[in-house]
């Protein structure tokens, strides 16, 4: 029988799909969602995009914290008694079906008045009547249809901030003024150098002043509002004795405006209002283009984005109550349910801990804990409920402490001078000296023209094209990288990436995959019957190791087991028609050989004889060896791992011999390691994945987070790389180097335009029309050049 894919979520149904309504489903959860949708006339969901759904997750007790009014109050965006508005983040939003179903939620519950999806941000804003449906019921309903809202501590802390739309306003105003001023300049363009005496157009001369003054008023908001940032930035630059690129720009804008105003006041000419507004408009356009943001990704995440808002705490009388995370004190007893996160360091008191620290370390294999053992914040309990006692409050836990480090409060951009700015310094000096020299020469030849020449030089030398080269090249590269699933925080990250000379890698989760492990079998060979029994036994178990092992074994016929028992924390024992089997830990099975504690293994005993064990190993990502070899040629490499040295031998075989390894590195050790090599003048790239790398990622000149699923998890960083593209990392680094070369070439190109312009300026013949032609021409040709060049570069990338 061919395997079918689930009608709801598209995953492989395996050999026994759930049939309903002539459709196959992978599980009952998916079938339930289908039932809900078809009962409520919402089956259009499946017409829009096939298999768009997600399997609903277990929800028991998950949203209990939404009963607390104080928490609800914090989460709601608007609350008018009964009518409430909430904005929920739903990571599953990914296609048109999702938009459709979420905007038709009112068909599922009459209490929902309306809902609007923001697709790029993956959020849905729901207006609902709290008398009919409470926030908790709403969350449960969303969860039931597979759209699980993610409500974390970050939502609780953040006040809804107003979106910064000032760039759009500025761009809009500059564009508006530019268009109108161009339009008003037309008479001047066609009627140059004429006046009433020489026989120019009568009415154009008659109304010339009116036209000019209207242009003046149009350019006022452009200078005062749209171009404001350039003045501020230039002022800051001069004050800190750093001539950035905004200094000549601000100077150009200012001189353009003053000279044009003086020109029209004394009726010397039409002024350069068209060039002025055009200049600001193009500059802002470059800024806008550079601002490509991946709103569905967040580069600023800290632990708060993953921690729950509230947990279940036992009161002294032994009753359960909901407690906010920040209220948890030392000595509190918490109940951590299945799939819940441990919010603070503590001691396991009751239950069987299977704790997944993949958020923290990247290691997907859950760690087993017995009661009395320590558990750390950031772990996720995978197997049933546990009880724990808090030893340290949230903010002082092993993991969260890391965020106290100063490196997280320090903006990276302040520590870095961009290529444009370093060019800007030399450029400003050159322009100012040309202006003074030519002015002093003109003072000797014809003093009346000297001021004219001085302003003309500053106007024409305004480095519009230079200022545009970087935003357009890097902005376009950002988009190209984004298509290749390499998401950078901003364009500066590309510049940083191009400069690195040292690359540090984390091990677990970064160069190893957290997906399917590879297991080697060590011991006596299993017979056909034993293997069949093993596979059938594993089939019934939900333990992650059982699932991985089950997937690794060959297909066998389904057999009904006579006896099956799963002993939590130990293993499974079962018997079939052809014998019995014991699977699990070495103690449970009775392994005769000494245990190898550095590796995860599953031991097998069949028909009362010890057979052997499956040893799970980390799987290294495809192309790791090749990547290290390539990068090793030009960069210094190192490997930092929080794990023990168990994998050292395999790593040595895999990676170039010169790569140093450092094991047992704590999160803070990683940070200090990077700081130390930075002090030696190295530019460091850090590649990591878990929250334990967050400090190192922030400290490094550029931190790249590797992510298996970009929607779900990534620590704060400068760039996020999809795990499937890991082996392409080096080609991305090289592409960013080439992008910097493109910028340098465009600098040369725009300098040539400046030379031509300077000829007119220095020789005292700069007419407004020449400026009006030269300025857009140079800008547009630079934009065209960088766009074409980066696209060619992008084509070569995989």
């Amino acid at each position: 029988m061919e395997n079918t894919n689930c009608y709801h979520c598209g995953t492989d149904c395996g050999r026994s799909p759930v049939e309903y309504d002539e459709k196959a489903f992978c599980c009952n959860g998916c079938k339930m969602v289908y039932e809900i949708f078809s009962e409520n006339d919402l089956s259009y969901y499946y017409e829009l995009q096939s298999a768009a759904g997600a399997t609903p997750q277990e929800q028991e007790g998950k949203y209990d914290f939404l009963d607390a009014p104080a928490i609800i109050e914090k989460l709601l965006e608007f609350n008018d008694g009964n009518m409430q508005v909430v904005n929920l983040y739903i990571p599953h939003i990914h296609c048109s079906s999702c938009i459709w179903i979420l905007e038709n939620l009112n068909k599922l519950n009459t209490g929902i008045k309306g809902s609007q999806v923001d697709f790029p941000k993956k959020t849905v804003r729901i207006t609902f009547n709290s008398e009919v449906i409470s926030l908790k019921q709403l969350a449960i309903m969303m969860n039931r249809i597979g759209y699980e809202p993610q409500i974390t501590l970050a939502d609780f802390d953040e006040k809804p901030t107003n979106v910064d739309r000032s760039l759009i306003y500025k761009l809009g105003i500059a564009g508006f003024a530019f268009g109108n001023v161009m339009f008003l300049s037309f008479p001047e363009y066609f009627d140059l150098n004429t006046n009433q005496e020489t026989g120019g157009e009568y009415w154009l001369n008659e109304y010339q002043d009116l036209f000019r003054w209207i242009m003046f008023f149009f350019s006022l908001p452009v200078v005062l509002y749209s171009g404001r940032d350039y003045f501020i930035s230039a002022f800051k630059g001069i004050r800190s004795r750093m001539l950035n690129i905004d200094v000549p720009i601000a100077l150009g804008i200012l001189v353009l405006f003053l000279r044009s105003t003086v020109d029209i006041i004394f009726n010397w000419g039409p002024g350069f209002f068209d060039s002025l507004t055009g200049l600001v408009f193009f500059l802002l356009l470059g800024k806008f283009f550079q601002q490509k943001t991946y709103s569905f990704l967040s580069f600023e995440r800290d632990y708060k984005s993953y921690f729950p808002i509230a947990v279940t705490r036992f009161t002294e009388e032994g009753k359960e109550e909901i407690a906010q995370i920040y209220e948890i004190k030392k000595g509190d007893r918490l109940l951590i349910r299945n799939e819940e996160l441990i919010p603070a360091d503590g001691v396991l008191m009751k239950g069987d801990g299977h704790i997944d620290y993949s958020f923290v370390t990247g290691e997907a294999e859950p760690v087993r804990k017995k009661s009395g053992e320590k558990v750390f914040a950031g772990g996720k309990q995978l197997h049933g409920a546990i009880e724990m006692e808090i030893v340290k409050p949230v903010s002082q836990s092993y993991l969260t402490q890391l965020w106290g480090n100063a490196v997280f409060n320090d903006e990276k951009s302040g520590r870095f001078q961009t290529l444009t700015d370093s060019i800007g310094r030399r450029f400003t000096i050159a322009v100012l000296s040309i202006a003074t020299i030519s002015t002093s020469i003109w003072l000797l030849i014809d003093p009346s023209l000297a001021l004219n020449v001085f302003t003309a030089v500053l106007i024409i030398a305004c480095p519009c094209a230079i200022a545009l080269a970087a935003p357009f090249t890097l902005g376009n590269m950002l988009r190209i990288f984004g298509k290749k699933k390499f998401y950078l925080k901003n364009t500066q990250a590309i510049e940083q990436l191009a400069q690195i000379d040292t690359a540090i890698f984390d091990k677990t989760g970064t160069i190893t995959t957290s997906a399917k492990s590879v297991a080697n079998y060590e011991g006596l060979p299993l017979t056909e019957e034993e293997e069949s029994l093993l596979k059938n036994t594993l089939r019934s178990s939900n333990h992650p190791l059982s699932r991985s092992l089950y997937d690794l074994l060959a297909e066998h016929d389904i057999e009904v087991l006579e006896d099956y028992e799963e002993l939590t924390g130990k293993g499974i024992q079962a018997s079939g028609s052809k014998g019995n089997i014991k699977i699990g830990s070495a103690d449970f099975v009775g392994s005769p050989s000494a245990q190898n504690i550095e590796n995860t293994s599953v031991h097998i005993r069949a028909n009362d004889a010890y057979k052997g064990c499956f040893v799970f190993r980390n799987t290294y990502r495809k192309g790791v060896a090749h990547l290290f070899e390539e990068m090793g040629k030009e960069l210094q490499l190192a490997l930092l791992s929080g794990d023990n040295a168990g994998e050292k031998k395999r790593l040595q075989a895999l990676l170039p011999a010169t790569t140093p390894f450092y094991f047992n590195q704590k999160p803070e050790d990683k940070l200090h390691f990077i700081k130390k090599i930075q002090e030696k003048g190295k530019k460091v790239l850090m590649v990591g994945d878990g929250l334990n790398d967050a400090g190192a990622l922030a400290q490094a000149n550029i931190g790249i987070a590797i992510s298996e699923n970009i929607n779900v998890f990534s620590p704060a960083c400068d760039a996020i790389l999809d795990a499937t593209k890991f082996n392409e990392l080096y080609s991305y680094i090289q592409a960013s180097k080439k992008a910097m070369r493109i910028i340098k070439m465009s600098f040369v190109l725009s300098l040539m335009y400046n030379m031509v312009g300077l000829y007119f300026a220095v020789s005292g013949q700069l007419e407004p029309v020449i400026a009006a032609i030269l300025m857009p021409l140079s800008s547009i040709s630079i934009v065209a050049f960088t766009t074409v060049a980066t696209n060619i570069l992008g084509k070569k990338l995989k």
Binding site: S96, I99, W100, D118, F119, R165, Y169, E206
Partner: protein, 68 residues
């Protein structure tokens, strides 16, 4: 030729009207999400109520490709 005052006034007023419309639309958040509306407008109106009638032409609808 003083008609030019009227013409100028009209042209500026028209320009200002569009400008005000732009400011208004930014303020209302219409520029915050420039992607979702492009998908939303492709959904069939009130299709669900007449699902049986429209079933046929529905089948011809290709799923909408999204670039995420």
């Amino acid at each position: 030729m003083s008609v030019i005052y009227i013409l100028l006034a009209i042209s500026i007023v028209v320009a200002l009207v569009f400008f005000a419309a732009f400011i208004f639309s930014v303020k209302r958040g219409q520029y915050d999400d420039s992607y979702t509306p492009s998908v939303r407008m492709l959904f069939e109106d009130e299709l669900v109520k007449k699902a049986t009638e429209k079933q046929n032409d529905l089948k011809q609808n290709k799923p909408i490709e999204l670039n995420n």
